[in-house]
Amino acid sequence: MKGLAAILVVGAALAVVPLLGVSNVTLNFLVVALMTALAGQGWNILGGYGGQYSFGHAAFFGTGAYITAVLQVRYGVNAWIAFGLGIAGGALVAAIVGGLTFRSGLRGSYFALVTLAFAEVLRISASVAPITGAGVGTLVRLDLHVAALQFHSRAAFYWTILAQVVIALIVTRLIERSRFGVWLVAVRENEDAAIALGVNATAIKFHAMVISGAITASAGCFYVQYFLFIDSGLAYGTWISIEALLTPIIGGVGTVFGPLIGALVVRGLGEGAQMMTGEAPGLDLVVYGCVLVLIIGFAPRGLMGGLAQWRSRLMRPALFAKVDHG
């Protein structure tokens, strides 16, 4: 299949990067960008293909992170198993949130608000519950062994997160090609019409939410293994929910590679802004916000969509006036 081949080519190209002798700083930048991309890939399944804009994907990221950390620290569970259970936990939280919201028929703004509230409830709970280490947070013991899912070299971490991203890309592509994916897009385009045609919209959205939650949770699991620390703000902070939706929207909402491109661009711009202003806080996020508004204003289908539009303009200059709807 053409799409899968493209994913493997991109994956292979990215896998070579650490062998080119790049600095640890660059590698660290790429690891964080890939982690953001992964969180965004989760969001993209539900938001991009399903049209359900969640403002609370931190709920899944944080749950994955906390389960991975707490199982290792408090119950001595092996890191690999904890990692897997973290993903399962994210899927479970998604199932609960999705089951409640979609069953009561919440759509659009209401859905966005209720997901936001769920993430906030989890954040406040995690900041007081003893099991999460409350306000202090949870520190994972440094143990640089493959069995503990910790590596000496940054490159190994890089390949781990890259593998996760590639798996998520393949999952996205398979969904896109499947009957389920077509139903999901039908729900996005016109939910009432889809229901009229016999699509079980509630079940479709529910399943998309579970897959979405699992993928975003896996980014949280990786976060813990990489930084070895988690607290309520890092896990469930509003900013994680915003980044999860920012990357696919900037890259190209409802496209396979959108979140990856979006994450690289957004992180790159953020780094650039910080380099220009030194230590001053805030300016990189101002850049994020401006890019978000500009993309929605001028390229509502993101960079991928903008590229396709631009290419079709080049091919058929006669359609200039028609394509331009600014």
Binding site: S104, S109, I124, S127, V128, A280, V293
Partner: protein, 290 residues
């Protein structure tokens, strides 16, 4: 156990806080009721207005309560401009895009403030900030009493604007039937912007009433915005009396649940109430249309 006087004090305190919540929610519900959008930039605009009130006091020496008369028109213009020249054109009329554009604006405003003023928390000391009314079982500082009183002035004024003036009629017409209003010759883009401006002016007034008894830092408004969403949902999206009653109810709920469960769990109470209302009765407890 709890004596009744502590309970009454908590309720009175909750009502005073709730009144300010209501004021923030008034702007939000007005914007929702007409434009049918959720304005995620509301909290950031509140923070910006609090900074404006802070600096008019610090630099110009204008009392915050007088500054309200200055800042409300200024923020009306800001809100008008934002809707007319940024949110409206950038969102292409798609609901999901509006959510994202207002979110983007929130990120920009909040972090621009962070960049300009750093994360420092600032307060102003008014000479009368700590005097107030002593009821024996509860002490009510003047700034909070004034805030309480002000909401009962602002809400009726807002209601009068909507009920009596031509602009108010146009706003209601657009809210009910956008296409019909447009056919009748109403400039919909202008009315949208006026509504957004009115909502933003409410935020400016709320900021001026808050600043004497509260602090300001670049994320100060966020504490209010989720609460304001809750009030708007509870009171019925778009309903002015709903926002007023919802605000007071939420203030009391928060105050009582902090009393019983402690400060941070008190906040959870609000969100859980919010989730339950959304799941069970998204049209709000006071029954306005969804």
């Amino acid at each position: 156990m709890l004596s009744p006087s502590i309970l009454i004090a908590a309720i009175v305190n909750g009502l005073l806080t709730g009144a300010v919540y209501a004021l923030v929610a008034l702007g939000l519900t007005l914007i929702y009721g007409v434009l049918h959008i959720i304005n995620f930039a509301h909290g950031a605009l509140l923070t910006a207005a609090m900074f404006a009130a802070y600096f008019t006091y610090r630099v110009l020496g204008i009392d915050p309560y007088l500054a309200a008369f200055l800042l409300a028109p200024v923020f009306f213009v800001i809100g008008y401009g934002l809707q007319r020249f940024v949110i409206g054109p950038a969102s292409h009329g798609d609901d999901r895009n509006i959510l994202l554009v207002t979110l983007g604006l929130a990120v920009i405003i909040e972090n621009a403030l962070l960049f300009a003023f750093r994360a420092d928390t600032r307060t102003i000391d008014l000479p009368y900030a700590f005097s107030g009314l002593d009821l024996g079982f509860a002490f009510l500082p003047w700034p909070r009493l004034i805030g309480f009183g002000a909401v009962f002035v602002v809400a009726p004024v807002l209601w009068l604007i909507m009920a009596v003036t031509d602009t108010g009629r146009a706003i209601r017409a657009v809210a009910k039937e956008k296409l019909g209003a447009e056919l009748a010759g109403i400039d919909v883009a202008h009315i949208y912007a006026v509504t957004f401006g009115l909502g933003t002016a409410c935020v400016a007034i709320a900021a001026c009433l808050l600043i004497p008894s509260y602090y300001v830092n670049p994320s100060a408004g966020n504490a209010f915005v989720l609460v304001a969403f809750t009030i708007v949902v509870l009171g019925g999206m778009g309903s002015v009396p709903g926002a007023l009653i919802g605000g007071l109810v939420i203030g009391v709920v928060e105050s009582l649940s902090s009393l019983f469960f402690g400060e941070s769990l008190g906040q959870i109470g609000i969100f859980i109430l919010f989730i339950i209302v959304l799941l069970v009765r998204p049209s709000g407890l006071f029954g306005a249309r969804a």
